[in-house]
């Protein structure tokens, strides 16, 4: 009943932009809101730890990486709610300090992937024909390699460092995002308002950047937010294999990796970080799904 909205607008002249409409609809989904809240909470947690590290590096040294073999493999207790690991370090501290690695590597690597995939996808989608064919066939080659294998290959070739890790996570994701961007750009570029803009004399670059991309954004944002979850899993996977974030840095995947040996004696050091990863990825997926529903005009009412 878009008529209803129109007529309301006539009476009130309240400018409701497409984005505020999306936010309004997003808020109606409880799981999506929960997901978003949890992610914002994690962002807050990582920011707090970063500030703490700068103001007082002792906390990191004393509680996060300092070994305390007296507490080795202690089960959860009031003093150590998440228990202690094989070196007697408090797992709660390690998980909290590990948040930033998973979260920011996930976010930044997807941004890199989005930039790479987005550029190629937009060019392929907008220009079509041979350009499209060449770019997308190269992307297909990348898609044919399992993302974990490719990430391992990238790290193996370039060595283990944070920036290489970012690339290792980003490169396998880029072709996936390129596909989405291309499809989305292709549907938008044939819209009449794009033609109208061309009839006004606007250049291709103006049209792509100012007209096509903003309108093609919705599915891209959704896919990207879902990809962050995958990226976090990949980081954990790489760390688990021992080629991701290096110990003693408390990355979630590396905590899991070292816990593997003690799985029979101390369940908590593998289960608790595992649960944290799971809830984080779940939150990202819930938020992403909510975003998709909120952005789908067909589900408007």
């Amino acid at each position: 009943m878009s008529k209803a909205i129109e007529n309301k607008a006539n009476g009130q002249n309240k400018a409701r932009s497409a984005w505020s409409e999306i936010i309004r609809r997003f808020k109606k989904s409880k799981p999506a809101l929960f997901g978003l809240m949890f992610i914002l909470f994690l962002v807050l947690v990582s920011l707090v730890t970063i500030v703490l590290d700068i103001s007082n590096p002792e906390i990191y040294n004393n509680y996060v990486i300092k070994q305390n073999l007296r507490n080795k493999l202690d089960p959860p207790s009031w003093q150590h709610p998440f228990g202690c690991d094989e070196f007697g370090r408090d797992i709660l501290f390690r998980v909290i300090w590990g948040t930033r690695y998973s979260l920011f590597i996930g976010l930044i690597s997807i941004m890199i992937a989005l930039f790479l995939g987005g550029t190629f996808g937009a060019i392929a989608g907008y220009y079509g024909k041979h350009v499209d064919n060449i770019i997308m066939r190269i992307m297909d080659v990348f898609l044919a390699i399992p993302s974990m294998v490719m990430a391992v290959a990238v790290v193996a070739a370039l060595g283990t460092s944070t920036s290489n890790l970012l690339l290792a996570i980003a490169i396998p994701q880029a072709p996936r995002l390129a596909r989405i961007v291309r499809a989305s750009v292709m549907t938008v570029k044939d819209k009449e308002y794009i033609e109208a803009t061309r009839a006004l004399g606007a250049s291709n670059a103006t049209i792509i950047v100012k007209y096509v991309l903003p309108n093609a954004m919705a599915p891209i944002i959704v896919q990207a937010s879902l990809s962050v979850g995958t990226a976090i899993l990949n980081i954990a996977g790489l760390s688990f294999l021992g080629i991701g974030v290096q110990p003693p840095t408390p990355e979630w995947g590396s905590i899991l990796s070292s816990a593997r040996t003690y799985m029979r004696d101390a369940w908590h050091i593998s289960v608790i970080p595992g649960l944290v990863i799971m809830i984080t990825v779940l939150s990202l997926n819930l938020a992403g799904d909510g975003l998709r529903d909120a952005m789908d005009p067909k589900l408007k009412n």
């Binding site: 909205i5 400018a15 409701r16 932009s17 009449e192 033609e195 109208a196 006004l200 004399g201 007209y211």
Partner: protein
């Protein structure tokens, strides 16, 4: 240079598709005088929209020439073409599709001014003045200036489309089915608005439509298209009172008359429009034509002048 604003000579546009050559516009020639309206009529897939877009060079013509104000614009380089876009504009069919959903009314109307660098984006006040002026002109209430297209109904959106086309002060506007997507009561409002604007600014229209009755009172000349070809060209009275081409006759007789006392005397037109892909020689209407002779499907008919200003392409008249 007479008062002919647009002259099209042997314009042809082919699309090269996977299944063959699609002949969308085939060898069409006509002229429009300044301040007049040419109605282009035909059914879906007849190439009328492609014709309009080819004239504006939104589709590059395959062959033929387009003269605008005496200049051949067929091969004009992009920079000069951009200048020319100040003078020739287009209004689209679907007001739901032709406006950027992320742009408010004022942004949509201001966009042409910025693209053509009439104003710098810092000249907020001047731009705003111009936008409000345009809104008054096309009958949009000023309070809607910050609304978004999805909040407005079809008629109002089409008014934005008209304002966007007019803001650069063009001389010639291609109107591609500007009222087909609107309700009848709104349709009349928009048609009247377009008539008023034409009078006020001396605009020249090329009015593309599938509905003969819409162009009847608006046009000085009507061009009937079938499968990319011009089958008949004449004044409204020539077309409506003395339609010569069998297709024009069929088209006229198929329109349901809103009067139960005038029963339809339908010219039985069988079959449907055929595919314009890899089309051969001969009259393209031959397969559906009641009067088709053998030569019709083999030899393309010549365009014949029957009386001053009345052209028809049919073997019946050769």
């Amino acid at each position: 240079m007479s008062n002919t604003i647009l002259k099209v000579k042997n314009l042809t546009k082919n699309f090269y598709t996977a299944s063959g050559v699609l002949s969308a516009v085939s060898n069409i020639s006509f002229e429009i005088k300044t301040g007049e309206t040419l109605g282009v009529v035909g059914e879906s897939g007849c190439g009328k929209s492609t014709l309009g877009r080819a004239i504006l060079r939104l589709h590059e013509p395959t062959s033929g020439e387009i003269y605008f104000d005496g200049t051949n614009i067929t091969k004009l380089p992009p920079a000069e073409m951009k200048q020319l876009r100040n003078k020739m504009q287009i209004i689209f069919q679907d007001p739901y599709e032709s406006l950027n959903p992320r742009m408010s009314v004022s942004q949509a109307i201001a966009a042409p001014l910025l693209i053509q660098k009439r104003y710098k984006s810092s000249q907020k006040h001047e731009i705003n003045q111009k936008v409000l002026e345009m809104m008054d002109l096309v009958g949009l209430a000023r309070r809607l200036v910050n609304s978004y297209p999805h909040e407005l109904d079809g008629g109002r959106r089409q008014r934005i489309g008209i304002a966007r086309a007019l803001v650069l002060n063009p001389k010639f506007i291609v109107c591609d089915e500007p009222v087909s997507a609107l309700d009848v009561s709104i349709q009349a409002q928009i048609l009247n608005l377009m008539q008023d604007l034409q009078e006020q600014f001396g605009l020249t229209y090329m009015f593309i439509t599938h509905d003969l009755s819409v162009v009847k009172h608006l046009s000085n000349k009507i061009l009937v298209m079938y499968l990319g070809q011009m089958v008949e060209l004449g004044t409204p009275s020539q077309i409506f009172e003395n339609p010569l081409h069998p297709y024009t006759q069929a088209l006229l007789s198929a329109i349901p008359v809103p009067d139960p006392n005038i029963p339809m005397k339908r010219v039985a037109l069988t079959g449907e429009i055929t595919s314009p892909i890899n089309i051969g020689e001969g009259c393209r209407f031959a397969k559906r034509c009641l009067y088709a002779k053998e030569e019709c499907s083999n030899v393309s008919p010549e365009i014949k002048k029957i009386e001053p200003g009345h052209l028809v392409m049919c073997h019946l008249f050769s």
